[in-house]
């Protein structure tokens, strides 16, 4: 008997007897064939050693095997729906936070371009000497990179969180219907070591640059305006502290 004949006969007998999880059983025998074939046995030898498919199917049909805890399944599904509702809200909140971070990064990038290019759209940016603005622009460029790194990391984290939650659901359902479970997944983001190193160094460099340029721009502004509270001198908030 060839592998195909064996499998067809076995699955036919299993279905005839309404054996639960027939696919699961077929899979075991498929693997058995795969291992034995790799060891150099012929399909006929393997099938002969396995025994008669009809006799095997009868052994799977024994009454005590049929008892499966399927009664709890509806309850498990109902409970899982409740958990999903709660977790879904949580995921939306997390995604919104990621979106906010991305938007701030975008705004910071726009500000950088405007300051460097000397563009002052609708007079939204307070007046200041160009060089003060340029140093400030550098700090905002660094902030853009920092936030972008944050976004990438956060996206990887969220992706892994969703995947591990999916795995958890799969396992709960598998447990309820007596099927085998898959190993649970960690929630820490899965980044390659090199990628992780690059992200970390980009974050550190941009953080240092941001802090340094921000402080430097404060000093340059103070010197240029001749006052520590230069924003009053330049009338940033609609009044001058000198009045």
């Amino acid at each position: 008997m060839t592998k195909n004949e064996f499998m067809i006969q076995l699955s036919g007998e299993l279905h005839k007897r309404n054996v639960l999880d027939a696919a699961d059983i077929i899979e075991e025998y498929e693997q058995h064939f795969a291992f034995k074939l790799a060891d150099g046995y012929s399909e006929e030898e393997i099938a002969a050693k396995l025994g008669n498919p009809v006799a095997l199917a009868i052994q799977f049909d024994e009454p005590d095997v049929k008892k499966q805890k399927s009664g709890s399944r509806p309850f498990v599904i109902a409970g899982l729906c409740g958990v999903d509702l709660f977790a879904g809200l949580f995921f939306i909140l997390l995604a919104a936070w990621g979106l906010v971070m991305a938007m701030v990064s975008l705004a910071s990038a726009t500000l950088t371009v405007c300051l460097f290019g000397g563009l002052n759209l609708y007079n939204l940016i307070p007046t200041m000497p160009y060089w003060c603005g340029a140093i400030l622009a550098l700090s905002f460029a660094a902030l853009t990179v920092l936030l972008a790194v944050g976004c990438v990391y956060f996206a990887a984290f969220l992706r892994q969180l969703v995947r591990s939650f999916g795995r958890f659901q799969h396992n709960v359902l598998a447990g309820a219907s007596g099927k085998a479970m898959l190993p649970s997944l960690t929630i820490s983001p899965q980044l390659s070591p090199a990628g992780k190193r690059r992200l970390r160094s980009a974050a550190l460099v941009s953080l240092a640059l941001f802090a340094a340029c921000f402080v430097l721009s404060y000093f340059v502004c103070s010197v240029s305006a001749g006052s520590l509270e230069f924003w009053h001198t330049w009338g940033w908030f609609g009044y001058t502290g000198l009045n």
């Binding site: 075991e28 058995h32 050693k49 025994g51 052994q59 799977f60 479970m181 898959l182 190993p183």
Partner: protein, 108 residues
């Protein structure tokens, strides 16, 4: 040898293998067929029955370059059952052996 009789003993052998470590189905069938003369295919219904009885659980282990393998693992109940059955079987086998050997001594 009588298949029905052998089945109970094979069950004990499966529990013994799993008592040492978690195995996937083929491993069990391979080891058993090396020691005992049974049809390779009968191990799988047996594993399924032991699982339905609550002596075993299964979990999938992802293998590199292949479909996940189904591993079998003894439950607490399986462990206790194994220890009881093992002691019982050893006592039984010892008595049978003694009986059979005494008989052959008589004949000589």
């Amino acid at each position: 040898m009588n298949t029905q009789y052998k089945k109970g003993v094979v069950e004990l052998c499966v529990l013994s293998l799993l008592h040492q470590r978690d195995c996937y189905g083929y491993e069990i069938s391979d080891v058993l067929s090396k020691h005992i003369d049974i049809a390779d295919g009968t191990v799988y219904p047996l594993l399924r029955k032991l699982k339905a009885d609550g002596l075993l659980t299964t979990y999938l282990q992802e293998e590199s370059g292949g479909p996940p393998r189904k591993y079998y693992k003894l439950t607490e109940l399986g462990r206790e059952t194994y220890q009881n059955d093992r002691a019982e079987y050893l006592r039984f086998a010892q008595s049978v052996r003694k009986l059979l050997e005494d008989e052959s001594d008589d004949k000589e």
